[in-house]
Symmetry: C2
Subunit: 80 residues, 2 copies
């Protein structure tokens, strides 16, 4: 079982890294980007456990460590 | 048009941040994780452009700035 976790800033939270990278792309001549935001992408490998157990572990990991509840949101997908 | 870009380390490249976070979760009592790897998740907003144009811009951005071609791989999805 595997989890793919996507963590991004909440709406309204400034993302200075994303703004900087967006500006850099523009100054490199890559036009057409209106907004760019950078978050985290976490891949978790579990052994041979149930989908329900993997969901519990992933959610607990996000709540307790991976995501900052004040500024970030997360969602995840599970796959075999 | 919007792009969601996922950047992760190539197989065989050490991910010290992922290892550290995996160890931290274990020491917090969250058991069952065999491996954890941390990458980047980039959301790009385009204006009203074609899917083909968005694909070109996203791929060029990844090749030229977002991903390190020596150590990272990327893939992306486009959506309206």
């Amino acid at each position: 079982m595997k989890a793919k976790v996507y963590i991004s800033y909440k709406e309204g939270i400034l993302d200075p890294q994303g703004k900087t990278v967006g500006g850099a792309l523009d100054s490199m001549g890559i036009q057409g980007i209106e907004d760019l935001r950078i978050g985290k992408y976490v891949e978790i490998d579990f052994g041979n456990i149930s989908k329900q157990k993997a969901e519990e572990i992933t959610d607990e990991s996000c709540r307790k460590l991976l995501a900052n509840p004040n500024t970030e949101t997360y969602h995840f997908e599970l796959e075999d």
